[in-house]
Symmetry: C2
Amino acid sequence: MVRTRTSARSKPAIKSRAKSAAGMQHAYAVILAGGSGTRFWPASRRRKPKQFLAVGSDERSLLRQAWERLDGVVPVERRIVVCAKAHARLVRAALPELRPTNLLLEPAARNTLPAVVLALRAIAARDPHAVACVLPSDHAIGSEDAFRASLHAALCHAQGDDALVVFGVPPDHPATGYGWIELGDATARLDGARFHKVARFVEKPPLALARRFFAGGRHAWNSGMFAFGVESFLAAVARHAPQVAAGIRAPRVSATSWRALPSISIDHGVMEHHDDVVVLPVEWSWNDVGAWPALAALVQADSAGNRASGRAKLVAEDARGNLVHADEDALVALVGVEDLVVVRSGRCLLVCRKDRAQDVRRIVERLASEAPEEA
Amino acid sequence: MVRTRTSARSKPAIKSRAKSAAGMQHAYAVILAGGSGTRFWPASRRRKPKQFLAVGSDERSLLRQAWERLDGVVPVERRIVVCAKAHARLVRAALPELRPTNLLLEPAARNTLPAVVLALRAIAARDPHAVACVLPSDHAIGSEDAFRASLHAALCHAQGDDALVVFGVPPDHPATGYGWIELGDATARLDGARFHKVARFVEKPPLALARRFFAGGRHAWNSGMFAFGVESFLAAVARHAPQVAAGIRAPRVSATSWRALPSISIDHGVMEHHDDVVVLPVEWSWNDVGAWPALAALVQADSAGNRASGRAKLVAEDARGNLVHADEDALVALVGVEDLVVVRSGRCLLVCRKDRAQDVRRIVERLASEAPEEA
């Protein structure tokens, strides 16, 4: 899907107060922890989705990493987490510092936009001048310091400007599975961060187009991370997704009303339709940890290209290019095998060819009927 | 190694009492449970060798199967088990009916002949007319009824004849890793069992020779199972392995004397040198369970040739010819992989190409230095 933005307005300069540290007292964060999924079976399950896993070489869960990444930018009492009711206990265990009133529960999955609006209603009720960043809880980010600098710059931008900010990640290959953002004119520079108008969003382009984007150097990946003034964003929701705005008027919504909401993402519901969106191309590496092979970028390989994630200890004998993961201490011995993903979790074990990792969902589908307790 | 027997004596007919059930009151069994080995890592360890594993589709350990295979032929009180000191507790747990005085402990591994002589000294002290069978504890046998019939016939033969009996297994391929026995003239028929003189033993023949043996139909595999009169065998030991006979004069031997014994097998120490050995070609299938791929013969394959052994439940998605084993309940999911051995045991996991199963020992060698608690 390609949407060209034709109505880019000219912008006033960023207000100077945005750069002062005192201005950050209105900064809030929304962590979206409502994800579910089957691509990380058997480590992730319906009862324990990806954001609760410690993958790669970090001993912290992805959710915990997302939480600590905010340290020094957004204080604990201004961090809101939205998750499925079924996962409230896991969130509380991962984030003991989370204020009980800052945990919002979704009665059912409705994609990201309703979750964000729910959180923003809670923030708006406390602080009419609030700015907020919206962050997924299941991505991995290379440099925390560089991330904090970007986050700080984007929140500052949001304090002085109505534009919605999306973080644009530098692409490292012509990905067809991501959303791409074409960078328009530069708009502002803040704390060394350069903001650009969004010329257009392109969701999951065909390979030929992705190759052009990648070669051209004027595109970034849509990271799914955003920053904006809360009132600015809620006004955009009222305009582009009125059903969501009307269905969530307060931080509390009945389960019945919630279920009546459309299931829609921030991108499809608001960003792609709004005319005042800027992109902040960032420097840090980003990994959406989409399936097991994505872990390869998060752990060092041995001399034969084998990688051990989580708590797996690897012993390889004439084995190459394999990725092993265990969520408890485990010794994984490989003999004569290549390009496999091997995962041990609880009483389940997965051995999968790397290029078939997408088919793990078929296993989960079969288990859902044959052995539902393992799905 | 090829030894041709030149001194086959002519034999008297089997004494008629051998066929009576009353005659079986002198029948004893020696179960050799002293094996150790690394080819079944990680399920087997130094602390828990193969005979203590439940592999294939039988829920009983191989040792327990060997024990119960004697039911109806040799009563419990006449079964002797020889094992390493370190494994006494495992044996007692597997065989609660075993009389405490019938468990003999080896202070160190000295191959099979010293272990057998130790057991035979204990038997001879109780019953000067005893006959005994010697059975490994880590082989799998297809038909227990057919096995019992062979065992009964061989013990009867031993009661009436000084010849040492070896059970010869019908070969199903030209194996180069086994001992072969060339059948000589038929000597006796008992309970429908036909005994033959052993013309010669050939240990691990080259492939061309193994092919000739296999095609010729006059060879059997040496099963490592024997039956004989106890005094006959001890006399043969005194003659062919006098150091062993002299070193073990009673069922109790000091650790120092034991360690001074040569490490030697029944075959090399006695059978291959003795001139009065007969072979009983049997009908039952036999599997020495030499390494993981050998389990394939013990479990049914699914339509794609995948096999699950032990307590593994298998879910295969476009996977072929794999063998999975788990010694505790485990769900093993395979996606897009072929001809692998996958084993889960405790906190260890093995993924090995089937044709590389012999290299599992390399993993164990490395662990012995890097992580000795897992070897």
